[in-house]
Symmetry: C2
Subunit: 355 residues, 2 copies
DNA sequence: CTGAAAGCGCTTACAG
DNA sequence: CTGAAAGCGCTTACAG
């Protein structure tokens, strides 16, 4: 059924059908009702392609998950037999929350995952083909930034989750960031409260904004409390389980071991737990561990992991809402926001003040 | 840039541009090359809406996650403050694998999540609006079947994951199922091999095909081995963590406890672990537990959960591949396939033959 | 307030 | 082999 057909049935022109559907003013209530009723009765839905082609919005956004490898290491996602594994604690909540919020606002979402520069070209094609009205990017690093900035220059509405806000000066976009710094400060302050004076850290890939900020938070909090980070107590990981494992082996292989380790994400904490078990040590009796992300898995570890919650739900919802608002207002926003970070106390940190 | 503009630059008509892009035969190599080069140089991409409107395929499919509540219980997904939680071990790998496979085949995917009958109407709109060329449905139950069957009757290409294949007789679609029965048989046979003679079960919501089949597999395997399922050893859960917890409390609250429990999915196994710990019992010393799904979390439990892997990756890839093939061949397939089920031995089952 | 008409950018018979 | 033209189903000035 086309608008033409419906128009005939109702006895109006198809212009009127369009006007009712798109909520134009100055239509008598009677006409509006008649049309609305006919739409319902005949189950009419305007052809999306025709609308878009004629200049209306598509009500479609894309969510782009970037996991472009540099130095051969995927960051948040593991691959097996050339396909992606389901262990994806970083991305998958975001997909759900973005979809949910977009649907609530009556938008559809296309999902796109890029593992390589080649995939990135496909992402660009989505824009070139005018399939979408805007997009949310997550997990950007260096190589893809240029493409994203080009898109912004071309006038596309874009939201960036977890991207260095420095760019906001030159590129109008919606920047929604994790409050890595605040989270890290809270984590380290908590350890200090519990009496820890010798604290180690396993960092993420320091090319990532989030990894660097988490490290900064730790360093400054230690300094602020007159404590020091021994170079033996810092291990540069890459946010993978394996690097958490290696980090522990490395850090605890020193004469003066720290009493606590700040592990920069929960995925690495899993590896850390394994290494600690292998060394015959217990958490938190022998060593305290604090994670970051409050991922799904963290509460199921033994002992349950104390960690930092970074309100992924809020971030995803906020980015989606702002993006759609910018689309509807037909202008690029320039907004920088940060999420909250909350300490989630569980059982992996020991109070050593009485020791 | 429109095809018209490009045509002028190259010195051909826009028909020729189209023909090259869509790989028509009978174009001299020289012309083809010239056009291809210009496309590359000017970064031309045909407008998706225009293509679709003119009758070409959109190269777009939808993946629809159905979690329509009946009797107030969401099945695979938990909600908090009216939004969906990230704990989604059932759906999220599927999203990733489908997207991945579709992208490989040069298709885009729209993701849609339905929690209510109202949401379902939105899903239908995606079809009515001609946004997509086909869709994959996951998690169907009763209420939504009718809508899906209508869609099939209208000629849409549809793949159904984990839906009763009985419908294949009357509705041409691609049915890809978990091999619940085989998996359940393998799980129970393994327990019997280890010497267990008294085996309990916590089922899923028996309205779901998967729950019923898993129960059937257990019953028939027991029978086949001359064993019996005591009614005290069956608890009807609903695939949620809480029901796993309650199931254990219920089943172990009998004078003659089973030595092993088959928990119908890994999520319920998490609850089962908690209940067992509360009862002061140990896994597997006091009670053996076997799960189902081989979800992300299962290997991180303490002890690591023995479970059944149902090759979600294969299922998702297969459904996607077949759906796209049916779209490209412009006809509805009628195919029923089952995935493999593999026993994953970990540490939650005890060999009690020597006891 | 409302209709007729142009136009969005493609694809696909139709001719030649 | 290739171009001119019709048509896909909308939306949006333009008139009235």
């Amino acid at each position: 059924m086309r608008s033409e057909d419906l128009a005939k049935l109702v006895g109006v022109s198809r212009s009127t059908i369009t006007r009712v559907i798109n909520n134009y003013p100055d239509i008598p209530q009677a006409t509006r009702d008649k049309v609305l009723e006919a739409i319902k009765e005949h189950n009419y839905a305007p052809n999306a392609s025709a609308r878009k082609l004629a200049g209306a919005t598509n009500k479609m956004i894309a969510i782009v998950l970037l996991d472009v490898k540099d130095d051969g290491v995927t960051h948040h996602v593991k691959m097996t037999d050339d396909t992606l594994i389901s262990n994806n604690s970083y991305f998958s909540p975001v997909i759900n929350f973005v979809t949910d919020q977009a649907n609530k606002m009556d938008y559809y979402v296309i999902i796109s995952i890029a593992y390589s520069k080649d995939d990135l070209k496909k992402v660009k094609r989505i824009f070139d083909q005018k399939m979408i009205d805007g997009a949310i990017f997550i997990g950007t690093q260096e190589p893809e930034n240029e493409m994203i900035f080009d898109l912004i220059k071309q006038g596309h509405n874009i939201a960036l989750i977890d991207t260095n806000e420095v760019h906001s000066k030159s590129h109008d976009a919606i920047y929604i960031n994790l409050n890595n710094y605040e989270g890290s400060v809270k984590a380290v302050n908590y350890l200090i409260e519990l009496g820890h004076k010798s604290i180690g850290i396993i960092t993420g890939n320091l090319k990532k904004l989030s990894a660097q900020e988490r490290l900064d938070g730790l360093k400054e909090t230690l300094q602020h409390n007159g404590l020091e980070l021994s170079s033996h107590h810092l291990f540069q990981g890459d946010f993978t389980e394996d690097s958490g494992y290696e980090g522990v082996k490395h850090i605890l292989d020193t004469p003066n071991k720290p009493t606590a380790i700040f592990v920069s994400n929960d995925t690495m904490a899993i590896g850390a737990y394994k290494a600690i078990a292998e060394l015959g040590l217990n958490i938190p009796e022998d060593i305290s561990i604090i994670g970051f992300d409050n991922s799904f898995i963290s509460s199921y570890l033994t002992p349950p992991l104390t960690t930092i919650d970074i309100s992924f739900a809020d971030i995803a919802k906020r980015a989606t809402t702002l993006l759609i608002e910018s689309i509807e207002q037909k202008k690029q926003f320039n907004i920088v926001e940060k999420s909250k970070a909350t300490l989630i106390k569980r059982e992996s940190c020991k109070d050593i003040r009485k020791d």
